[in-house]
Each structure stands twice: as C-alpha cells, then as structure tokens.
Subunit: 192 residues, 2 copies
DNA sequence: GTCTATAGGGAGATAGAC
DNA sequence: GTCTATCTCCCTATAGAC
C-alpha cells in the first residue's frame, strides 16, 4: 500500500498536470511550477529527480484516477447513455477549466519530442480510455441503447478521436464548437 | 504578384513545416533547421527575423496551398465521395510520411504556448478546413451520396476532429488505428 | 524538505565581416 | 546571403548549507 503523498509532492503533480493540459509538456519548466507553489526550483528536483520522471508520474497518476473513476461508474450506473454522458463530462470540464485539452491528446501531439521514458505511459493511457469506451459501447448496443455500424472498437475510435480533436479545435475556433461536435455524436448514436 | 521564393527560403519553410508536424512548434529551433539545410543559425534569421514570423509564414503558406488544392479539386471532381476521399488522402499521407500529424492539430494543442502572432493564422486555418468540409458534405448529401443527421457543419466537426484526433492516437497506439477510424467514418456516412 | 549558488548547455536574436 | 562571434536569457540539474 503506497503512502499518501505529502502535500508538496501532490501540489507539484497538480501544477504539472494543469500546465501539461494548458501549454504542453515542452512549454512548462520547473521554474514555472516552483513559482506557482511559492518554492524554489531545487525543491521540485527533490521530489522528482528529472522532468521525465515528473512526466511519467503525472501520466500514471491520471491513469490510476481514470481506473478508479471507471470502476466506480461501472458499479453504480447501468444506463449506457448516462455512462457515456459521464465520460463526455470529463471533456466538458476540461473545456470549461481554462481551455484545457485532454492529457492523452497533448502527449500524442508531442509524442516525438517528449522524453522516451514517457511514451510507454502515454500509450498505455490511450489504450485505457479506448478499452473502457469500447466496452461501454458494446454493452450499450447489445441493450439497444446505441446504434452504430461496424465494431464497438471502431466506433470507440471515432468517439475518442472526436472528443480529443474537438477540444483542440475549440481552442482556436471557440468553445461552442466542442458542444456542436458532442451533439453530433449523440445524434449519430441515438437509435432511430 | 509575389516573387517566387528563393531556394533557401523555401527550404527553410519546408523544414519548419516538417518539424512542426513531427515535433511541434516548441520542440524545434533555428539550429535544427540550419543543421538540416547545412547552413548556420544566422542565415535563418536573415530570411525570418523571428521564430514567430517563421511560424506565421509556415501556416500562411499551408493555407494558400490548401486553397489551391480545394479550388482545383472542386473544379475537376464532381463525385462527393471522391472529393472526400481526396481529403482523407492528405491525412493518410501525413501518417505515412514519418508519423506526421496535421498542422492544424499541433497548433491547437500548443495554442496557449505559441507566439500570439501565430494564433490568428492558426484559427484561420481550421476555419478554412471546416468550411471546405462543410460545403462538400452539404453538396454530397443533397445529391444523396452522404447520409448523416444534423447540419453539414455539425458533421464536418465530427469528420475533421476524428481525422485530427485519430492521426494523433495512431502515433501512440499504431498507424492502423487511423485506418480503423477512417473506415468507421465511411460506414457512418454511406447511405443505407 | 527547502534553500542559495552555480554548473553547463541550448535557445532566440543581433552586429559586422566577407 | 551567409558567415563568425557574441549577447542575454532560460532551461535542467546538482552540491552543499540550513
């Protein structure tokens, strides 16, 4: 059983995660984090030896959080549409909270310029998300709640890529464009 | 009438565009470009005073190229599906050529950490792409070639965001995931 | 755990010679 | 147009005091 992270360590992870989603991994520094926390550069290095270590820790924490979220939702909610809407809500929250984009998206966009140690975690993250989506879509179609052609894994790619892409587009074209894309996904999958 | 850009200037734009799509704007430097061209740092500054100027020039050249592409295609091709497939092919080429992602996507992902002067161009680019897609989808549905619910502009968001997002996902999860997403878009829009 | 101080490197950018 | 040389700044990272 892992110990509860001390306050500073958690605050560093929070700040790094926020800046990752706001500016990208290549556009924030230890100095930026230190400034936000009111400490000095070297304090961050005490908790995370290198920026690559910090990057991996941010991704792995996000993966654990999503796993807990999915486990709880799958246990408590039976309605496929409400499960999918809960997933949509994660992205709506990102949009609202300062125009963040999804961590998975920015890590893929910067995939060839982030430290090599982070890439395995970034890949594992998108697989986590897609597996949950695929399972939820499969279950929902069996129950007659969703309608779509092809396999659930195929539709999961369109849904996941649309959410990720539309969050990014919303930055350059206006937040309401994300809602447009979301509503179109709902229209496509609503049984006729 | 603008003069034909000299060789070096064009080569700088080519290198910058490639690195933008491969690594992101924040992950390449004047030194990287100079090295690839076999010249020195300062030579790049002669052609583009600042990196922001270079960034704007790359985006504006891309926009002009897309406008010419669209004009030619709209004049020569009547079949809506073949027009859409030609658009898909742009993204397939990116995927094949070293795992590039679309310029629009990386600029949006880094939107809050690129020079302010570049943002207007980045926004104009996504509007160009979406306007062409919207027009093509509208025309195709009128002719009975496409099937989708909602408005053409709504479907254009899903198609555009899927292409952009799926190219990124393909990096972290395998190139074949892009083809999966593409095929699902075709299935969704094929008249039943 | 956090600090000061600093090493060492890379970034964008400019001046002036050729 | 391209070069050498250089400025200034910021970055990641470490050593050692407190």
């Amino acid at each position: 059983m892992a110990a509860v992270p001390r306050e500073t360590k958690r605050e560093i992870l929070d700040a790094a995660e926020a800046m990752l989603q706001e500016r990208g991994f290549n556009a924030f520094s230890y100095h930026h984090i230190a400034e936000r926390l009111g400490v000095k550069n070297a304090a961050i290095h005490y908790h995370f030896r290198s920026k690559a270590d910090l990057g991996v820790a941010v991704i792995e924490r996000y993966r654990r959080r999503f796993a807990r979220w999915a486990e709880k939702l799958d246990a408590e909610e039976r309605d496929p549409w409400l499960k999918l809407e809960a997933f949509f809500q994660i992205y709506l929250d990102f949009k609202i909270r300062g125009g963040k984009i999804c961590p998975s998206g920015i890590l893929q966009a910067e995939y060839h310029s982030i430290p090599e140690e982070m890439r395995a975690s970034a890949s594992a993250l998108i697989v986590d998300l897609q597996e949950w989506l695929t399972g939820t879509l499969a279950q929902g179609r069996e129950q007659g709640a969703f309608q779509f052609p092809g396999e659930p894994a195929d539709q999961a790619m369109v849904v996941g890529a649309t959410l990720q892409g539309a969050l990014q587009i919303a930055r350059a074209w206006g937040p309401e464009r994300f809602d447009t894309a979301l509503e179109q996904l709902r229209r496509q999958m609503r049984p006729s």
